[in-house]
């Protein structure tokens, strides 16, 4: 191996450590001894790649709470107000960074209304975006039947999740898997099944009798095992809450990456926000695809 390659490897090691974990003072000194232009170029490229990976991996996408959206909008408006003919949006201002905007109660109404209006208009007219990765969905259930707000669609298209599940089930190419509950307390009295579309890596989890959870402490997470991948690492396909004693719920599920050989499904109880790898301590139900 040439000196050039060895130096490249060492630089790669340092940069990977810097962007994933941070460097010690000694490592920082070593990095400082390398041509700053080369370091900056390599690091920026690496950072962009990791940004792309992060966006691909984040999986489930949720709309931010209305109050948060309103706060962000208000912050943006303030940012614009500060602009003068001599400053641009890209310029730094000294006061914004430490000041998180929390609108007063009197401002919530119109801010929320504005946000909702923008949401409605943008949601209505915007075509599907090409680059959005497949995203598992978090559904907060506070009524026995899942209710999802969707744009107007032709009446022939099923609109509720149970209807969509029934339609998928009726198709010849879908897969139905009954889950068996475990001895975990969360699984007592529960019955569940999955209807899965292997072509789209998506489907519906149908559960009866699952107990409500406190989303600030723990959440339910659904997993699919791919027979062609390492079985220690099932793929996350949904993070969801049951907020009331709902007799029966239907949860849309989807993986961020393709399932090449559907082997099994599982429901676990995990920390709030979900996890990348299930700890297998609280397995509510598990079912083999055959």
């Amino acid at each position: 191996m040439s000196d050039h390659n060895i130096q490249n490897d060492a630089l790669t090691d340092l940069l990977v450590k810097q962007v994933t974990e941070g460097l010690s003072a000694e490592e920082q000194t070593i990095l400082s001894s390398i041509d700053p232009a080369i370091v900056a170029a390599r690091r920026n490229s690496l950072e962009c790649m990791m940004g792309a990976l992060s966006a691909a991996l984040v999986g489930r996408l949720e709309t931010p709470p209305a109050t948060l959206r309103a706060g962000i909008e208000q912050q943006a408006l303030k940012h614009f107000e500060r602009l003068t003919p001599h400053t641009r949006l890209g310029a730094h201002s000294s006061t914004e960074n430490s000041k998180i905007i929390r609108p007063t109660s009197t401002q919530w109404a119109w801010l929320s209304a504005a946000a909702c209006f923008v949401l409605a208009v943008v949601g209505w007219i915007r075509p599907p975006r090409v680059l959005v990765p497949p995203a598992p969905v978090t559904v907060q259930l506070n009524v026995p039947a899942v209710k999802v707000t969707q744009p107007e669609v032709p009446s022939s298209v099923p609109r509720t999740l149970p209807q969509q599940r029934d339609t998928l089930l009726a198709r010849g190419d879908s897969l139905k898997v009954n889950l068996t509950t475990s001895k975990d307390p969360a699984g007592i009295g529960v019955s569940a099944d999955v209807v899965w579309d292997p072509a789209t890596n998506s489907g519906f989890l149908h559960i009866v009798g699952l107990k409500p959870n406190d989303p600030k402490i723990k959440q339910y997470q659904a997993w699919v095992f791919d027979g062609l991948r390492d079985q220690r690492y099932p793929l996350d396909c949904a993070l969801f809450d049951v907020l009331t004693d709902a007799a029966e719920v239907v949860i849309p599920i989807q993986t961020a990456i393709p399932v090449r050989q559907t082997k099994a499904f599982a429901i676990t109880v995990e920390q709030a926000g979900g996890v990348v790898v299930p700890d297998k301590v609280h397995v509510v139900a598990l079912g083999s695809a055959g």
Binding site: Q18, E21, V58, P65, A76, V122
Partner: protein, 188 residues
């Protein structure tokens, strides 16, 4: 994404309607990342606001030559979230957001240019070994340190470091291959 119609470039140009569009389009991404990398929902809300402030400030540094709007925003979000996770509890040297310039690599180093998008990254992830993908996911999505990943997966620290490095190098290779293939097709 149509790069001629970049939301970030419109923001940098002072288009206020692009700001709202940016919140609508990328709010779920930023919020999703913040939720995964924050300890509490309140932390996630504060982080999301900080990230958007940074986006408004940094929009003029965006260059479509190195990635899409989504990649730029995810990069800013990840950096901010990592800083929040580690900033107060660690003395380790991290990179300042102000040093992050989205200039094409060839402009400073003469190296081959790589332009990143989320679809490419997703395809590359799909081709990684499960162990490499999971380790990257824990580092990037949960913001765990190498030692925290080692503890979580019951792996030696050296193995975790190796998986992260090999995983990133492999992703880069796969994306570069993808770019070359697309380029070759467009030349036909």
């Amino acid at each position: 994404m149509n790069r001629d119609n970049s939301v970030l470039q419109r923001i940098a140009g002072g288009d206020q309607s692009a700001v709202r569009e940016c919140i609508e389009i990328f709010g779920p991404l930023v919020w999703g990342m913040a939720r995964r990398m924050s300890r509490t929902p309140a932390d996630a809300e504060d982080a999301t606001q900080e990230i958007f402030i940074e986006i408004w400030r940094s929009a003029s540094r965006f260059s479509a030559a190195l990635g899409t709007d989504r990649v730029f925003i995810a990069t800013i979000a990840r950096r901010r979230l990592i800083d929040r996770l580690r900033g107060k509890s660690s003395q380790r040297s991290t990179v300042s957001l102000e040093t992050l310039d989205f200039l094409p690599e060839h402009e400073v180093s003469g190296a081959a240019e790589s332009s990143y998008d989320v679809e490419q990254a997703s395809r590359a992830l799909n081709q990684l070994q499960s162990s490499h993908r999971v380790v990257l996911e824990l580092a990037l999505v949960e913001g765990l340190s190498h030692s925290e990943i080692a503890a979580r997966l019951h792996l030696p620290l050296g193995t975790v470091k190796s998986y992260i490095r090999r995983g990133l190098v492999r992703v880069r290779e796969l994306i570069n291959i993808s770019v070359v293939q697309v380029g070759a097709r467009s030349d036909e």
